[in-house]
């Protein structure tokens, strides 16, 4: 599973970086910079939580 963001829907709330800091950081404008690799098993739970918490539903989990 990988984390992706729909950059059109994303409005830089930044919750994702708080809930998944191991995988997502924010640029200086508040938009997520996401590690594109496969999410390790121990982070999958938090990744799901981050996707569910995104206020604009821009954060998505993509199955390989």
């Amino acid at each position: 599973m990988r984390v992706r963001v729909n950059p059109i829907d994303c409005t830089a709330h930044g919750l994702c970086a708080e809930l998944l800091p191991e995988w997502i950081s924010l640029d200086e404008w508040g938009y997520p910079v996401i590690d594109e690799q496969v999410v390790p098993a121990q982070l999958v739970r938090n990744a799901r939580r981050a996707a569910a918490a995104c206020p604009t539903l821009a954060l998505r989990l993509q199955q390989d």
């Binding site: 950059p7 409005t11 640029d27 508040g30 938009y31």
Partner: protein
């Protein structure tokens, strides 16, 4: 000349020169297009036969001709539509037949004089498939494929987040074959004269002729033509920009035997793109030229994706400061970081192309970068602008 003949615009003159367009059975046509080796002329250079086959495999396909020519330094598509509208319309019918489409669309920039010419040409024809003309707002990213599909679907010419790609789900969620108008013109001639005829000219791997815009002038040349044959004496030049603003700078000393092929230009770290060649004379400032284009590309963003609408203006401002001052050397670290984090984070490739363009300038004009950074005056900034925006 295959496309830019002396023929007039009317259907009668067109048919007198090229003959009637007769479309045989679909499998034979697709085979012929595959064998011709035609590569798309919109920039990406994707094999047209493969694209048409993919769309033909879906149901209720649609075709769309892209005549928007978003690049300010390109004039070839406009020239083609303006002087040979029936070549383009023949190609659109050929593409429609190849994929089994019953619906054709043709997108042209709003305000273009080609609109009226194409509209008149359509009234002269008795096509099997009806063509709808679309006026596209004049903005760089409005002619991006997903933006054109979005325009036809919703009236809004902004890129969408893909996948699905248009060839999977495009107009009305149906598989959509989008082809550049020059590609279409070649397609109509391949339908008439066959693959062998098409391959008889140009580079064996990327055959045919191509329309190229050299410093604003449109010419038709065989693919594989040496880039330096299109230019004046190389000694008078600092660098050449091939592929337009989605392309890269190439130092004049590196032009050597480079030919107009995707193969050669990719190997040189560049891109053929839509066949745009611009030369920068000795004495002009490559950084200032790059700054002007970076500012233009930043202004042209669709305002949809944060990394693009924040990142490109920041990059453009930094390049401008580097070119014209005032420059604080701490800025270099910011610029480097932005150039690293902005690509790949937009819905379309607009930010990627803008960053590639700036990166190539910083590399090709490395000596100028060092001079500007150390605060030495550059006489080039007083030269008249070279690149059109």
């Amino acid at each position: 000349m295959r496309l830019l003949t002396e023929t007039g615009r009317s259907l009668a003159e067109h048919v007198a020169t090229h003959g009637e367009l007769r479309l045989g059975n679909r499998p034979a046509l697709l085979d012929e297009v595959d064998r011709s080796g035609l590569l798309g002329r919109g920039g990406a250079g994707f094999p047209t036969g493969r694209k048409l086959r993919t769309v033909a495999a879906g149901s209720k396909a649609v075709v769309l001709g892209n005549g928007c020519e978003g690049e300010p330094a390109s004039g070839k598509d406009h020239r083609l539509m303006q002087s040979h509208p029936h070549l383009v319309l023949d190609g659109l019918q050929t593409a429609a037949h190849a994929v089994g489409a019953r619906e054709a669309h043709l997108a042209v920039h709003a305000g273009s004089s080609a609109l009226a010419i194409l509209g008149k040409a359509l009234t002269e024809r008795r096509d099997l498939v009806r063509t709808t003309l679309h006026e596209v707002p004049v903005r760089y990213v409005a002619s991006e494929e997903s933006a054109l599909v979005n325009l036809v679907n919703t009236g809004l010419a902004k890129p969408t987040f893909t996948p699905p790609r248009p060839f999977e789900q495009g107009i009305g969620k149906r598989p959509t074959a989008i082809n550049n108008v020059e590609t279409l013109a070649h397609l109509g001639l391949i339908a008439r004269h066959g693959a062998e005829w098409f391959r008889a000219v140009g580079d064996p791997d990327e055959p045919g002729t191509a329309l190229v815009t050299v410093n604003g002038t449109v010419v038709e040349v065989p693919t594989g033509t040496p880039v330096r044959d299109l230019l004046g004496p190389l000694d008078d030049l600092q660098a050449v920009l091939v592929g337009g603003y989605f392309g890269t700078w190439i130092a004049a000393a590196q032009v050597h035997d480079l030919t107009l092929t995707h193969r050669d230009l990719r190997a040189a770290g560049g891109a053929l793109g839509a066949g745009i060649v611009l030369s920068l004379p000795v004495g002009s400032c490559g950084l200032l030229e790059t700054s002007r284009v970076a500012t233009y590309l930043a202004d042209q963003n669709a305002g949809q994706c944060g990394p693009c609408f924040n990142g490109l203006p920041a990059i453009a401002a930094a390049v401008r400061a580097l070119a014209l001052g005032p420059w604080h050397d701490g800025e270099m670290a910011h610029l480097d970081r932005w150039l690293g984090i902005v690509p790949g984070r937009g819905a379309c490739r607009h930010p990627d192309g803008a960053v590639r363009f700036v990166l190539s300038a910083l590399s090709v004009f490395a000596n100028d970068v060092a001079r500007h950074r150390s605060g030495h005056p550059c006489t080039g900034i007083r030269q008249p602008p070279v690149l059109p925006v």
